[in-house]
């Protein structure tokens, strides 16, 4: 989606009729972010700037909304997003070790992306399969029961898919 083509009234639908102009514009922000992120993989600064001009909303206000949600990102994301679960069950079963191992292996900290944009490392609260703890996900795939061997496989899986 081109930000320039964004139609506030169309996006907000019938609700728009009962709220004021400013709220209408603010109301479409999250939709707009989601669409931008779909296209670019993250929210580039200059696109948010265009959005700010298009909606006549201050950039700080837009950034403030976007920064509230964990789902929006402001820097390019890796092809593979690896999420290490830090929920209670995983924590008890050594999630920290998994995270540390991955951080060391790829030379990035949690929340960072490798320079070649191959991988982004993140932590999550709970994936919802505590029986498999400790758990990590590579994009949509779940890897559970990560012991020493599984860890090697995990690293391999991440690296393999890079190619």
């Amino acid at each position: 989606m081109r930000v320039e083509d964004l139609d506030v009234n169309e996006m907000i639908g019938d609700v728009g009729k009962i709220i004021c102009e400013h709220d209408r514009k603010k109301g479409v922000l999250i939709h707009a972010f989601q669409k931008i992120q779909q296209d670019y993989g993250y929210l580039p600064g200059e696109v948010l700037m265009t959005l700010s001009k298009k909606l006549s909303l201050p950039l700080a206000e837009i950034y403030s909304v976007a920064s509230f949600y964990k789902q929006f990102h402001f820097s390019p994301r890796g092809k593979k997003v690896v999420r290490v679960c830090m929920g209670t069950a995983c924590h008890v079963r050594g999630a920290k070790n998994v995270l540390n191992a991955l951080e060391d292996e790829f030379g990035i900290k949690q929340g960072e992306t490798t320079d070649d944009l191959a991988m982004t490392l993140e932590t999550v609260g709970c994936v919802g399969c505590c029986g498999l703890a400790p758990v990590a996900t590579i994009n949509e795939d779940v890897v559970g029961d990560i012991g020493k061997k599984k860890l090697e496989l995990l690293v391999k899986a991440i690296k393999e898919e890079e190619k």
């Binding site: 600064g45 201050p58 700080a60 950034y63 403030s64 920064s67 509230f68």
Partner: protein, 822 residues
């Protein structure tokens, strides 16, 4: 009305207001941290909780509306305990670094903690450990001290309409920051500093200057624009250290812009004059007052004897008080015997005045800063009121928020266009065509009361003169589409009530007397009163200067006005300039310099050695606005007192005293001993002009472009004010110079490519009158075909390019630009 009981007191208040407001109106204090009456209720701090009878929950009084029969308690043991806990929670994160915090002593958080706090907190949590963000020029952000009340964010976006700050992030790590954590780039109004309840936002120039309890505070009136805001100046040991606005204080009700808040330090500029200077063999030599005054009086006497009284002229100043200007007039009339007097108002307020006299028969025009509020439609004509009159601009934004339709016609993106409901992007300097076109549409559609209006003098000629302004033609002239023209004209005509506003001043070249006349025609056509037209006088005492009779038409006829005095060589032999710098601020300065150099005697009385003073034969040191008593009249026509707050440097004296002393040297006793004496004389001499009149006259005006761009000079130069400066006086302020320190040329991206100009490179700009060099700023806020600059900076010499528009038309200049290599 709603009746309720607060703390046992029966009160009756308006329906729909909050409990907090009801309590405040009845003198009951409820502690709060995130409430400000200018902002919408937010309910973040939870300190304002109150108990209500038959309500198990506590209510946040700042966001709960009153209901009939409510019984409210604002101070009970239970509430004290709750507030104490809330404070305890706030103080988990807030570092107790009060000993090194400038806010200490006037900090809301400190005060509330003092009242409710207990020595130790029960909760432990890591404090934020962010270093203060000191990157911006004037405002310092210390996130560690922030309690996240959101006041700064809200005042910036809701009230100032800027939105430079946001609450970034979520939960504990939330910080107040500009987007992407970049350097704060904003209007630098500093409203966030005043409103911050802690020391999270502080003024950088004031940092570590003085503890709050050592400051002596005194109110005075701002010396910059015509809004006449009240500044509360804090001094210590005879130095002004800061300026702030206090809630509900003065015309501005506590609002200030960056000029008022940070610009006062121009009085400490390095080139303040401390002694009189006399030019001897081409160079200035320091002199005593006696020598200087004798020199002037001898020369004046000689000139009067040789060439007559009418060979002497004087220029007064909007920077000086009424008393100063009155004394200049008295000196000229009773000591010299000449009526050749004028001021910078000739390029602005005088034009407005002349036009309104022609249309409404009024000799005085004041605005009402509150007039935008409650208007159906607000129409702003090619004026950046948020910059020229920032606090008046705030009321326009407020009106828009409260439901007024804001229509802005402008050639340049401004804060008002960003907030407008309709933005008519027009070609610069075509306001007259736009107005005529709209009136033609209104006439054709019969959207006016023909019966009444047709009886108005000049209607037939007026109607005929509009014949050629068909929507098609006007659309071509102004660049606004026909549909937009028609719909705007209809909206304005059909509105229940309306306000039309614009500014006219020496620093802008897109509007002239014709614009005011055309706007008056529109007002008369719609059957409105003159109140529908709000044209503020430009500077702090422009109104007063005019009122005191520093104008060519005040006394006799056949006197010389500013165009004769400054642009005609040999029209005068001696010129006395008080507090004005024509070489920097008036158009076509090469001609002015030629005239000034040809004078036999040029006396300049100013606070600093200005570009004009450098040409003088005698320079007299005057006190600045903070160093003398007197009165200013703001654009509303309201007279306000200014006070002597600090001592004047060196031997400088208030302007009126210099003039009195000079009168004595000339051998004329004018029987004025002190400032009260001057005030009494003013009361006796100056009568109030009538403010209402039944006169209505249509004046036909036709659109004529300024200097049209051609093959040789292909671009139009537009000059306007920038937000951080007002006239050339503010450029002496070190604080304001941190934000904008030099003139620059704004140019559209397309033009920049066409002329091979890159951002930040130097360009040579040439008009038919002169050449200057400026730095280019490539932007999309100006339209193709125009370049934009401001004329505040003496070294920018923008006035080398411009020309004075005498005939009433706008005066845009045609220029060519070249990139400067190397």
């Amino acid at each position: 009305m709603v009746e309720l009981t607060i703390d046992g007191k029966k009160v009756s208040v308006e329906d729909g207001i909050t409990i907090l407001k009801a309590a405040q109106m009845n003198g009951i204090k409820i502690p709060n941290m995130c409430y400000d009456k200018r902002l919408r209720p937010y309910g973040a701090c939870r300190l304002c909780v109150v108990e209500a009878e038959k309500q198990p929950r506590l209510l946040a009084s700042c966001s709960t509306p009153v209901a009939p029969g409510m019984v409210i308690l604002t101070d009970t043991p239970k509430l004290r305990k709750v507030r104490q806990t809330v404070l305890e929670l706030m103080l988990i994160h807030h570092p107790l670094d009060c000993p090194i915090c400038d806010k200490a002593g006037e900090c809301d958080l400190q005060d509330v903690a003092y009242e409710y706090g207990k020595p130790e907190g029960r909760f432990i949590r890591h404090r934020k450990a962010m270093p203060p963000d000191v990157r911006g020029p004037l405002v310092e952000l210390t996130a560690n001290r922030c309690i996240l009340c959101g006041k700064c964010v809200r005042i910036c976006s809701e009230h100032q309409g800027r939105g430079a700050l946001g609450l970034i992030g979520r939960g504990f790590p939330t910080v107040v920051q500009p987007a992407f954590g970049e350097i704060l780039e904003c209007d630098y109004c500093g409203q966030c500093i005043d409103i911050c309840p802690t020391g999270a936002l502080l003024s950088k120039p004031f940092k570590f200057q003085a503890r709050a309890w050592f400051l002596e505070e005194k109110d005075t009136i701002c010396p910059f624009c015509g809004c006449g805001c009240t500044l509360t100046l804090g001094t210590r040991e005879g130095n002004v250290l800061r300026s702030r606005g206090k809630e509900d204080n003065g015309r501005s009700e506590g609002n200030l812009c960056g000029r008022g808040r940070f610009g006062f330090d121009y009085i400490y500029s390095d080139n303040r004059l401390k002694t009189p200077l006399i030019r001897k063999n081409g160079a200035f030599v320091q002199a005593t007052w006696d020598e200087a005054l004798m020199h002037i009086s001898d020369s004046l006497k000689y000139i009067i004897n040789s060439y007559g009284k009418d060979s002497v002229g004087a220029i007064g100043s909007h920077r000086c008080t009424n008393e100063d200007n009155f004394m200049l007039r008295k000196f000229m009339v009773s000591v010299i015997g000449s009526h050749n007097m004028d001021s910078s108002a000739a390029f602005g307020y005088s034009k407005v005045q002349k036009a309104l006299d022609m249309a409404f028969g009024l000799k005085t025009h004041s605005i009402n800063m509150k007039s935008p509020l409650g208007k159906d439609v607000i129409f702003i004509l090619e004026s950046d009121i948020s910059i020229t009159h920032p606090v008046f601009g705030l009321n326009i934004l407020q009106a828009k928020r409260e439901g007024s339709q804001l229509i802005v016609a402008d050639s340049r993106d401004t804060k008002l266009t960003r907030h407008s409901s309709n933005y008519l992007k027009m070609r610069q300097g075509t306001s007259v065509a736009l107005l005529n076109g709209m009136m033609k549409i209104i006439l054709d559609k019969g959207l006016f009361n023909r019966e009444i209006v047709s009886k108005t003098q000049g209607f037939t000629e007026f109607e005929t003169s509009l014949a050629e302004y068909t929507p098609g033609k006007v659309s071509k002239m102004t660049g606004i589409s026909e549909e937009e023209l028609v719909s705007t004209a209809e909206t304005i005509a059909k509105a229940k009530n309306r306000m039309i506003s614009l500014t006219v001043s020496a620093t802008e070249n897109t509007k002239g007397m014709d614009t005011v006349l055309a706007a008056s025609n529109l007002v008369i056509l719609l059957g409105e009163d003159i109140d529908a037209l709000q044209i503020p006088a430009e500077y702090a005492n422009t109104y007063g200067t005019y009122k005191m009779g520093i104008r060519p038409d005040a006394g006799k006829t056949d006197v010389k006005d500013i165009f004769d005095m400054l642009y005609e060589t040999n029209s005068l032999n001696a010129l006395y300039i008080m507090g004005e710098d024509p070489v920097s601020t008036f158009p076509y300065n090469s001609k002015i310099m030629r005239t000034l150099k040809s004078l036999e005697l040029l006396v300049v009385q100013d606070i600093a050695l200005t570009e004009t003073a450098k040409l003088a034969h005698v320079v007299l040191p005057a006190s600045s606005w903070a160093e003398k008593d007197g009165t200013f009249v703001n654009a509303e026509g309201i007279e306000q007192k200014i006070h002597r707050i600090v001592d004047a440097p060196g031997q400088s004296l208030p302007d009126w005293q210099i003039l009195r002393n000079l009168s004595l040297s000339m051998g004329k006793e004018i029987a004025i001993r002190n400032i009260e004496g001057v005030s009494e004389e003013i009361k006796k001499t100056i009568r109030e002009d009538q403010k209402t009149s039944d006169k209505r006259v249509f004046n036909t005006v036709s659109y004529s472009a300024g200097e049209e761009p051609d093959m040789e000079y292909p671009l139009s130069l537009v000059t306007r004010d920038v937000l951080q400066h007002s006239g050339s006086m503010s450029t002496r302020s070190k604080a304001l110079d941190l934000v904008v320190s030099e003139a620059f040329l704004e140019i559209n991206e397309d033009d920049a490519r066409k002329f091979g100009i890159s951002d930040n490179s130097h360009v040579k700009i040439t008009s038919r009158r002169g050449t200057i060099y400026l730095k280019a700023k490539v932007t999309d806020t100006v339209q193709p075909g125009t370049v934009f600059t401001s004329m505040h900076f003496p070294h920018g010499r923008v006035n080398a390019l411009t020309y004075p528009s005498e005939n009433g038309a706008a005066g845009t200049d045609a220029v060519k630009i070249e990139s400067v290599k190397g």
